[in-house]
Amino acid sequence: MKVCMFHLMPYRDLPADFDRRYNSAYIDPLWFDVADADKVGQYYNWTLDEMVYAAKAGMHGLCTNQHHQNVYGFMANPSLMGATLAKLTNGQDVAIIQIGSTLPSTNPPTRIAEEYAMIDCISGGRLVAGFPTGLPTDATISNGVVPLDQRERFREALDLVVKAWSAKEHFAWNGKHYQLPMVNLWPRPIQQPHPPIWIPGSGISSTAEYVIDHDHCFCNLNYFGARNAQSVVERYWELAAKKGRDANPYRLSFLQLIGVSETDEEAEEYARHAEYFFHNLLYTPPYYMAIPGCLEYDALALAMQNPARQVNLRSLTYKDFVERGFVITGSPKTVREQLLDGVKKLRIGHLLALLHFGSMPTELCRKNIGLFCREVLPHLEDLWDDEWEDRWWPERLRLKRKVAALAGAAS
């Protein structure tokens, strides 16, 4: 399997009374009341350093993402981060996973096709092209996209991007949402006809079905842990089987909060950062998440029939987060046992490890990365590869892994 470092780039020093002052991590917090631009400059640099450190420590991929107007994570343009990481990791066999730029809110979407092609060229063909539809707040409030248009724009934009990457001739795009007279993209990605495509989704929406139909990789960016994702992931695999797709675990990427310490007791060092994450950063009220139109009619009807268990994150403590499996923390042994269990049960091909969360200082993040890569990752990475090929991984990196494996077997 592949294990990748995921980073949200959150605000790490929120005031202690933040959760009493604001009812949402998104939209409401006022920059000048809460944030400091010098500090944020430090965070961006720490984030890049932590990602590069993770690559050197043995992570297979580095994941960036796009969010707006919030304290939870603000890589407002993930291509800026991805381009920097592509340059800083040149010569290393690590994938640059943009997961990624939001198509519905970028006009024209060929802008993202260009940025991704640039990253693929800079990195020497190491790009994974992730395409989120975007959180409701990001797309509709921060970027003004009509909620009911969000998914429609996403699909049209992705068709346009994929065509623009590989078309041999100029073409005109006369779409519903986008019109371009002569598309002839410069540059094109090294990976042809297109880099591997990953698409995040919640599993309830129509996204999972779209991903299976198009044979892309589905990323369940679920912040409540593998233990709480059974039903969503089961539904995904059932749908894949129904549509005649194989059970290749690499069809699925999954995010998990992880904190590794020397012993289970010492893992208490993650307590306040986990609480900061769930209380301050992840907390977004329903009126910002369930904006009318962001779910299509059928998905809306399904969601109303099976309402998500409403959990008041602010009423829970670190102990609850650990017990419920939202976060996996502990000694290397504890962490790898829980991860192996979850990964096998859900058939996760790409584990996206959120090794920085909340207010975690850079020293603790680096310790987490170091321990994880030395003590946990080696126990995970051989999973699946005897049986399945990762068709959703940059080809040049796939070949290098094969060569390395052969060399290992020969010696």
Partner: protein, 266 residues
């Protein structure tokens, strides 16, 4: 109570099915509902139907048989043209048009685009204009408590209870919840993110005698907007309604129906 019957029309080159509640008797009156669908307005329509033949079409996408219809209309201009076709097919030459909230924006824009096709115009707490000093609240992203206060002068009164109330039967309950959200989605398509889609440039073309009705406690779009509309529509008249918020036709149904019927001469 007047008896209403449902008519169905296939419009827009066969790609949209629209249900129209038709009832009452007398001169024709078209009612265009607001962002939350037609469901809550039926008692008010009964009052209007005493003197008029009421035609109450459901906004594209909110008819039971065609949830995807809003995807067939790309923008507000399409929506206005669609209404022209709808009225043609109903055989309405120059009906009175009553529009509430989002429906008021549609009614006003239609009356500006086809001035001769509207006999009289009634706008009840319409959106469609914008003032930076008094921004219209985004009704699609309001916390529940704030929403009740914005919509109703008495958020705990019978009108609010009826508006937010859900059926006991679990299936009907879910259907009502879905309808409530979906109606906002389908109307919101033409109003998001700011319900200022060009009416300010067209509104001077309205020639129909116009009545502007506003709840004094409207928390979505301030009652001061009544003068902004009135100042741009020649010869229009404003009526402010006591003890009513954004939905005066629910909170003060008799009063509003009386004013409308008086104005229309019914």
């Amino acid at each position: 109570m007047a008896s209403f019957a449902e008519r169905k029309l296939r419009l827009w080159q066969g790609r949209i099915e629209t249900e129209i509640d038709v009832g009452g008797g007398g001169p024709p009156l078209v009612y265009l509902h607001g962002p939350w669908g037609l469901r809550s307005d039926r008692a008010f329509l009964d009052l209007l139907a005493r003197s008029h033949t009421v035609y109450a079409p459901k906004h594209p996408g909110t008819s039971g048989g065609d949830h995807q219809a809003a995807h067939e209309l790309d923008n507000f201009w399409d929506l206005v043209v669609y209404h022209g076709e709808l009225f043609d097919r109903l055989g309405l030459e120059a009906p009175a048009i009553v529009g509430h909230s989002f429906g008021g924006m549609v009614a006003a824009e239609y009356a500006a685009n086809a001035p001769q096709r509207v006999g009289k115009l009634v706008l009840i707490d319409p959106v469609g204009l914008w003032r930076d000093d008094q921004p219209v609240k985004n009704w699609m992203i309001m916390p529940e408590e704030a929403r009740a206060k914005a919509l109703f002068a008495d958020p705990a009164g019978p009108a609010a209870m009826g508006f937010f109330g859900l059926p006991e039967d679990p299936k009907a309950r879910i259907a009502a919840q879905v309808d409530f959200v979906w109606a906002q989605a389908c109307t919101g398509k033409f109003a998001w993110p700011i319900p200022d889609k060009g009416l300010k440039k067209h509104i001077h073309r309205i020639v129909a005698p116009t009545l502007i009705v506003w709840g004094k406690a409207d928390g979505v779009i301030a009652p001061s907007y009544a003068q902004d509309f009135a100042g741009r529509i020649a010869g229009s008249r404003v009526e402010l309604i006591d003890r009513a918020g954004h939905l005066p036709q629910l909170e003060q149904a008799e009063t509003v129906a009386g004013l409308v019927r008086g104005f229309l001469g019914g």
